[in-house]
Amino acid sequence: MENRITDIGPPYYAQFFPPVIKKNYGKWKSHEIIEPGVLKYTSETGDVVYVVRVGTPRLATTDYIREVCEIADKYCDGYVRWTTRNNIEFHVTDEETLRALKEDLKSRKHPGGSYKFPIGGTGAGVTNIVHTQGWVHCHTPAIDASGIVKAVMDDLIDYFESMTLPAQVRIALACCLNMCGAVHCSDIAILGIHRKPPLIEDDRLEYVCEIPLVLASCPTGAIKPATVEIDGKKKKTVRVQESRCMFCGNCYTMCPAMPIADGEGDGVAILVGGKISNRVSAPKFSKLVIPYIPNEPPRWETTVKWVRKILETYAKHARKYERVGEWAERIGWERFFELCEIPFSSKTMDDYRLAYDTYRTSMHFRFTSHVDIK
């Protein structure tokens, strides 16, 4: 404990402000997006700052961060910032440097051919995907995070580098339904789900788990305490009533002796129509539209195909400024399913506690065709 320093908090943010930001703090008058990925802010003092936004994979090496710093040193006096969706923003004050910076960013590629710093992510396009740990680091995932994100962004790179959609589309991914990140409030959300109940390791459960915690962790009350005999010894354990289990994996989070991951059972669910801004309509939760797509590493072709399908259908039919959720609610969800050609199944119908409010209690509906997908 000697010489230990604690409770000093993060460094004060203002010490990392570029000089032009420091000088004009609280004095900004207007901004415009001069092209995809490049913003221009004008201050009351007449100062102008250009911001170049570039995509990142979020998971990065120190070499990559050093390269970002090298770029910042070269063009921005060593100043750089990260956004809330893990893009990087470089600030410059004159057009000459802006041009040089853009040229430089565009020229940098990984040996495999991917762009290191693709410029974009502004306005009505698809910006970076907020995502989680996946198979890189977590112990409860049902799907990978970085892999699917790379596959989806590869497919949607044109929407990252352009602003052609009715409104911005936020895509998020969480690898289990803890939903770390923004899955529950994103326009399109990719979520990892299980389809089989947990395996119970009776021999060690009572030593590594606090059984009352396990019982209380179950949202459907499917877990009950039990006693089993192993080699003549009585052991405390639990039993899962499989007809009540919906495979959330909460019990595994609380108890390491109840693993639930399964190569064939696990997969992707797609949710649609959430938002967090208050613009025009109130914030919305995203809603389940595709209950299950199998895991297909390394490129997740079916997931990628459905995300593009939903995005393109939305782009074709929605009105300007309309977010995915606002569009779906305006045309009615039955039309949404028809236009996107998503087969509707009973899995999409809510059956959890407050489900009644999600059913249709009116005569207002459209006749639509049920869609079969080959």
Binding site: N178, Y207, V208, P212, M254, C255
Partner: protein, 106 residues
């Protein structure tokens, strides 16, 4: 799983060094072993009071007490518990008392 040996006793532990055999495997040698891991110089009555409360609560209820309960029963504020166990009530005190490793998004 790894096995640690201390003063002639063998303990099966997990990757974070928590006792796998539960309270059945707990003994004085385990306390000594964790004490030197934790960098605690001497075990005082106050340390023992915390360990005792944790073990009694676990035996009675099957779960480790919440931090507020631990504070209320022992009469020690959280700050004091950190002074006794520098790694805190979970990683320090529970480990020494032989309770299961805390789970969830810690």
């Amino acid at each position: 799983m790894p096995v640690v040996e201390y003063k002639g006793k063998k303990f099966e532990v997990d990757e974070d060094g928590f006792l796998l055999g539960g309270l059945d495997a707990w003994c004085m040698e385990w306390v000594e072993y964790v004490k030197q891991l934790e960098g605690i110089e001497e075990l005082t009555d106050e340390h023992w009071k915390v360990i005792k409360v944790l073990q009694d609560y676990y035996k009675k209820n099957g779960v480790a007490p919440m931090v507020r309960v631990l504070s209320k029963v022992t009469g020690y504020p959280l700050k004091k518990i950190y002074e006794l166990f520098p790694s805190g009530p979970g990683k320090g005190a529970c480990k020494m008392a032989g309770l299961p490793k805390p789970t969830g998004c810690v």
